[in-house]
Amino acid sequence: MALKTSWMISLKALRRNKLQTALTMIGMTIGVATVLTMIALGSGAQAAIQDQVKAAGMNLIIVKAGNYQLQQERAPDDAIENGAVDPESQPLNRWSDGVYKAGERRMRAAFFHPEDDPFAVHDHPTSRQRLGDAEAGLGAAATLTIADADAIRKIGGVQYVSEGIHENAHVAYGGQRWFTRMHGDDVSMPKIKRAWVFTHGGYFSKRQETNSEQVVVLGSIVAEKLFGKDNPVGKTVTMWNQPFKVEGVISSSNWMVSPAAGDDEFDAVYIPVTTVQKLLNLSKLNDITITTESTGNVTRVSKDITDLLRGRHNIAFKTPDDFQVISQARKALTGGGMQADMQRSVMGNAAGLEKVTLEQLGKTLDRASATMTALLASIATVSLIVGGIGIMNIMLLSVTERTREIGIRRAVGARAQDVLLQFLLESITLSVAGGLLGIAIGFAVSLFVSRILQWSTQISPLSVALSFGVSAAVGIFFGYYPAKQASQVLPIASLKYE
């Protein structure tokens, strides 16, 4: 008998036995929906962890101009100047809101930025100390150039490179003025800062960077201070008495980081580095930010960068670097007010430590999320098996209930294998239809979970294919036994069931 005919017979039988059909399908649907949702949650979590690892800068390397390792405990030279207050008119418990009002002197005492807090102990030099050019007031320390950055771009394993010049600046729009951080960057910055979202517009383009155009991207805090709720894209703000066209507004997509006044990322403006150099008449950089393609080769790339820059800067053997290569792990190791001597000894061993830490951390995270996915998958598998047993149960019941039907078919000439095929096709149809419905529901649930609960989910074509395949397999596996039973019903059986 043709498979098509068998299938038609099965479909008709399913339509006749609606309750059986519905019950069996529900079991399968729930099973597959669970599998899909579980896998979506599992791989979503895995992707989220990897994302967080990268967002946390595990693959980040920063090359800073100058070498200040041993000066870290020195108070900045300009601390006093920055901290000037007027004690008579300024009760100390009233801080400025940061918006400049003519004649207001307490402005400088506000918490503009950690770097400008006169009482903070800086682990890096402030802007005055950094720029090698006259504008920044410091001589020979700044050594990095755009050409250095371009050379780093050619190192194997390097993913993105961005030049960096960091200054403080007044940004003005209409009557509003806001004192904030200014970053001169490359177009690749949004890719380095993975946790950015653009609430309006986008980043400046490569072409705008090449042409040193006066365009600016606002951090969400700056946008809020200057424009309130309005869309700033296309408007013109003023810095250094120069007009800048607003290209976009960035905010944080990372639930761990929410933009706050005074932070370095969102209370900041971003301008093409070339524009900054041109306007401020600078030729050097404060730093270069690099990401590597994988977390594992941060150490190797750091070393390559060191070698490259030493060569480019013609630094003789045994002479200290005129720059500093910092990776995230190294930063973590030496952060938190460690003593200078201790720091030095840690740094001496950092290369090895860093490698171990990063690679192990990466592996541990991978293993943890793999375990989680496996756990979720096994829960899902159990629910599929339960669904399958449900199918078997109902099919077995239905065989008993349909003995008369089977007998009638046998009496008019159905062979045992025709009956077997009919029941098998019924359970396969049920499980596949249930499976498809389950896939749809799984999609919907995953979407719901990611939208409403803000959990990350990821549905891969593989997991859909897997669910579909598994549901068909369950149909065959758990449908075979009842179908076999059905085919063994004797032709005379129907005559006894009247």
Binding site: T5, G407, I408, V412, G413
Partner: protein, 253 residues
């Protein structure tokens, strides 16, 4: 007569083993039925009539003995071969109609064609089933589901189904057992006209003498053996009886 009988059974026995007790449903039964005969089998309850019919219909196998259908031994065929014999050579009509529930009359009638050895197209299935339904006077009811039909109509659907593959024999086990007297006569009329007009061989089982009287030959059973086997001289004619019966009000088929 030199033609081979349609049905030829020799020393057929059927014994059911019920634990310690052996139930002898058939004890060495021999019988020849020729083409075009309308044989009615009569006997008290438990005499082995249905057992005989199941074996004749290849629904069951004898414990011993020989069964030739159209001269071919079918008592020791494989299950698949027996299925194909049932499909092409035998038509069944049962007391309980044995139709598929929640299924239209037409689809019920089509059923044997789904299992025939050579594939039959859907349109041909439909047209043949329609023709069979029309031949039993139910053409207008083909869309009706079995539960929307009266007992007599259901039995006519079952007859249409039994006739679909032009079987050599039509086996009927108490076909009028669940019907009132008028519909019984109508059904018997169909059987009689099938014999007269299409020459179909019919074996009909009943335990009522007045039903047996419609046959051309009456075989009487008792305790698994044939006690009498004779041609029926005073054959009842259902067609004539129907003409005499008052026409029922509700019948609009």
């Amino acid at each position: 007569m030199t033609t081979t009988p349609v049905i030829s059974i020799r020393n057929l026995t059927k014994t059911y083993q019920m634990g310690e007790v052996a139930v002898h449903a058939l004890r060495s039964v021999s019988l020849d039925i020729n083409a075009g005969e309308f044989v009615t089998v009569i006997g008290p309850s438990g005499s082995g009539k249905s057992t005989l019919m199941h074996i004749l219909g290849c629904l069951d196998q004898p414990t011993s003995g020989q069964y030739l259908l159209n001269g071919k031994d079918v008592s020791h065929l494989s299950d698949d071969e027996v299925s194909s014999v049932r499909n092409s050579k035998i038509g069944f009509v049962f007391q309980g109609f044995n139709l598929l529930t929640r299924t239209s009359a037409l689809e019920n009638v089509e059923l044997p064609l789904l299992y025939s050895g050579t594939p039959v197209s859907a349109s041909e299935r439909r047209s043949r089933a329609m023709a069979a339904l029309e031949s039993v006077g139910l053409g207008s009811r083909h869309e009706h589901h079995t539960n929307q039909l009266s007992g007599g109509q259901q039995q006519r659907v079952a007859i249409a189904r039994a006739l679909l593959n032009n079987p050599s024999i039509l086996l009927a086990d108490e076909p009028t057992g669940n019907l009132d007297s008028r519909t019984s006569v109508e059904v018997m009329d169909i059987f009689q006209s099938l014999k007269e007009e299409r020459g179909i061989t019919i074996v009909l089982i009943t335990h009522e003498h007045d039903v047996a009287a419609y046959g051309s030959r009456i075989v009487a059973f008792k305790d698994g053996v044939i006690v009498s086997d004779e041609l029926n001289e005073q054959r009842r004619a259902a067609r004539n009886e129907l003409a005499d019966l008052p026409v029922p009000v509700a019948e609009t088929a």
